[in-house]
């Protein structure tokens, strides 16, 4: 289980990376942080607190905070869909922060409402092993389920160097790469 403090720190870091500011309303911000924590505890990843998640990582990938729609939304409307991330000028000029239209395609949202038994699953792509290279060191390929960062290591990193996700967010890609001497 994650902590509210960890979720808040990650949100602050994500905001800083893009020059955004977290929602200046302390009560509203506290609700969002709590919602993110609940989703992280519930699904294993911090999906947007204001959207319905399916609980299937591949279906929810685009709404894991910071979601795929954050930057275009902040640019166009001054805040993201749940209003966690706010454009600097909106806060500085004390412009009203209001709900914005949903940018996520309705088909994707509908899929989150569809019972698991009726969902059409995409076939898993298997990366072929590169066996032509002389065998010496055996490494595994890991990818961050939050941001897609890929690395070759015996063990997954303790923290994703790109999005700061925890080690638990890494999953092995089932292909073995053999590197020569």
């Amino acid at each position: 289980m994650t902590t509210l403090e960890a979720v808040r720190r990650r949100a602050e870091s994500n905001a800083k990376d893009r020059g955004y500011i977290l929602n200046p309303d302390p009560e509203f911000l506290a609700d969002l942080i709590e919602g993110l924590k609940t989703n992280e505890d519930r699904y294993g990843y911090p999906s947007c607190p204001c959207r319905l998640a399916s609980g299937i990582f591949d279906l929810d990938r685009d709404i894991i905070c910071p979601c795929d729609y954050r930057d275009p939304d902040v640019e166009e409307y001054g805040c993201c869909y749940c209003a966690l991330f706010i454009r600097k000028d909106v806060v500085e000029e004390k412009k009203p922060i209001e709900p914005i239209p949903e940018r996520r395609p309705q088909e994707k949202i509908a899929l989150a409402h569809t019972p698991a038994s009726q969902r059409v699953e995409k076939p898993v792509e298997i990366v072929p092993a590169l066996t032509a290279i002389p065998l010496k060191t055996k490494l595994k390929m890991w990818y961050c389920r939050q941001c897609g960062y890929v690395c070759f290591r015996e063990e997954p990193p303790y923290i994703c160097p790109i999005c700061k996700a925890k080690r638990e967010m890494f999953e092995e890609i089932r292909a073995t790469i053999y590197l020569g001497a």
């Binding site: 509203f28 609700d31 969002l32 709590e34 919602g35 993110l36 609940t38 989703n39 607190p49 204001c50 959207r51 319905l52 998640a53 749940c82 209003a83 209001e98 709900p99 239209p101 949903e102 309705q106 949202i109 509908a110 989150a112 409402h113 569809t114 019972p115 698991a116 038994s117 009726q118």
Partner: protein, 94 residues
């Protein structure tokens, strides 16, 4: 489907709300109704079963709504998507 009824003194409109339990905008909408003493019912969609979520999707899209929360249905005809106090004032008479 777990429908929660919030008792209020204003009962001249039938107010039903689809919400997400973790959503800050939904929470704000519930609070606005409570502050104005409006009686209403709501369902937290994320806490429903898969089957109920599908029913909710059909219910909202059938009424021409978008799958975005909060969604309010006033008197079985007026649909309000999102936290919009001015629209709520007009439809419910806050």
């Amino acid at each position: 489907m777990k429908i929660v009824k919030v008792i209020g003194k204003k009962r001249n409109h039938k107010v039903f709300m689809y919400a997400i339990s973790t959503c800050a905008w939904c929470k704000r909408t519930k609070q606005l109704l409570k502050d104005n003493n409006v009686e209403f019912e709501y369902v937290d969609v994320d806490l429903c079963s898969d089957e109920d979520q599908e029913k909710i999707e059909r219910e909202i899209t059938k009424r021409g709504g978008r799958l975005s929360y909060p969604t309010l249905i006033v008197d079985d005809k007026t649909l309000i998507t999102g936290y919009h106090p001015e629209k709520m004032t007009e439809a419910i008479g806050l």
